[in-house]
Symmetry: C2
Subunit: 281 residues, 2 copies
Amino acid sequence: MDVDAYLAESAARVDRFLDAHVPPASERPERLHAAMRHLLFPGGKRFRPALAFAAAQAAGGDSNAAVPIAAAIELVHTYSLVHDDLPCMDDDALRRGQPTVHVAFDEATAVLAGDGLLAEAFRILLEAGDLAPEVRVAAARELAAAASSRELVGGQSEDLAAGDALAEADVAWIHERKTAALFRAAVVGGARVASSSPATLERLGRFARDAGMAFQIADDLLDEAQGGAREACSLVTVLGSDEAGKRAEALLASALAELESLGEPAEPLRELARFAVGRTL
Amino acid sequence: MDVDAYLAESAARVDRFLDAHVPPASERPERLHAAMRHLLFPGGKRFRPALAFAAAQAAGGDSNAAVPIAAAIELVHTYSLVHDDLPCMDDDALRRGQPTVHVAFDEATAVLAGDGLLAEAFRILLEAGDLAPEVRVAAARELAAAASSRELVGGQSEDLAAGDALAEADVAWIHERKTAALFRAAVVGGARVASSSPATLERLGRFARDAGMAFQIADDLLDEAQGGAREACSLVTVLGSDEAGKRAEALLASALAELESLGEPAEPLRELARFAVGRTL
């Protein structure tokens, strides 16, 4: 499988949907809508939407049906980046080589743009008339849980509060929430468009958790290789590069093992997991 | 009807539910959860939850079934206050006589507490197993739309951007979004627990819009009577107190007219609307 082509095709599909549903920058309040779109277009690799599509396929469903779920996940991811970049949080001026939202606009607009993106995620998913109400409720419920103070927001909160020397368990606690939770919502949400058994959904949830943790280590290794400053909240810092790399490989193996019974339809999901880890090792 | 008793009973019901479902301050991250609860307990009058309960009754339903909807509305309202108070927005140090969240904690925690409250609203509503999936989808969809950049967040954005001299139409545009949108989500959401006809839901939506606009004028008149600074975004400023008071009375009359066909079960809803406007005139 050509992973780059799969990612590009996934990105094109989710981007078309997002562009059609997120209010245009020409709609009042224009400045707010421009700010909401600033980090959304062009976005990053759209890795989470690709996970949702591949999970729909792995569960025997039509990945097109997962487009609103993939779009909602990407909106939550984008909102979290906008707020994480704020001066009172990580205070980042650049994101993907572009000025962050509070730099390109202003701080209040960045707070409100993040708020708007988060509400938009739920609006878009809950208004997706092609999905059965049960599917919308399940996917939106899991997305809300993943975005909550027990997961995404809680992870960012502990990350900010953490000192310079974190224990391995604390790093894992934070990454489970900042990274793996949204991976899980993408994968389990995508699989919901097929009539998956609870056992399959649980298996996919464990896959996503392990793949997410491996992805985060790979990201930290990439940062290290590019000469980035050592983050306190990184298994590379806590364990060293070699040991962290082995940990990522072990997590990848454990993630892939969860998919064994799913056979050929799970191949795109396997390839995405291998890609996420392999790009840095 | 004793409106104070109705409000107190509504507040007790929604508070019990919120306290049981919002993570306790003893749960990690403790500081974040304490911050989320800071403005939530004790809250304000819980007027929006009371509207949801009264709307459930007006539509012939059981108001107890509307508790998760009422709680979700209150969480969205509370999140919006936490973010509106931030230094980069209205920069308020006090709210309901207590230090605001960014003062009692810190700015990053206030941003994250607001984010957590918003996600929590959807989590709590979508996890409400006693409500049919169709009801959960409809109520959550309307709440997401009310919280979106087209409504609540868009209203706050225009309010911040507005200059010193607003036209009447601009004030109305902002108040439709900052106040009336959440009133409508509360009333229509509450009515969704009964099997209301589309015509009844539309009538209740128009009631809520007019009642919300009247409530906002009454609030601005109260501010004026208490010697508060004149806000640019206020019909009291634009029209003067007398004319604004007449406008509130007209909006109240128009709101009450929408309820005529609903008879006796709509009496609590009527009383709440009269109370909202009457408290200042």
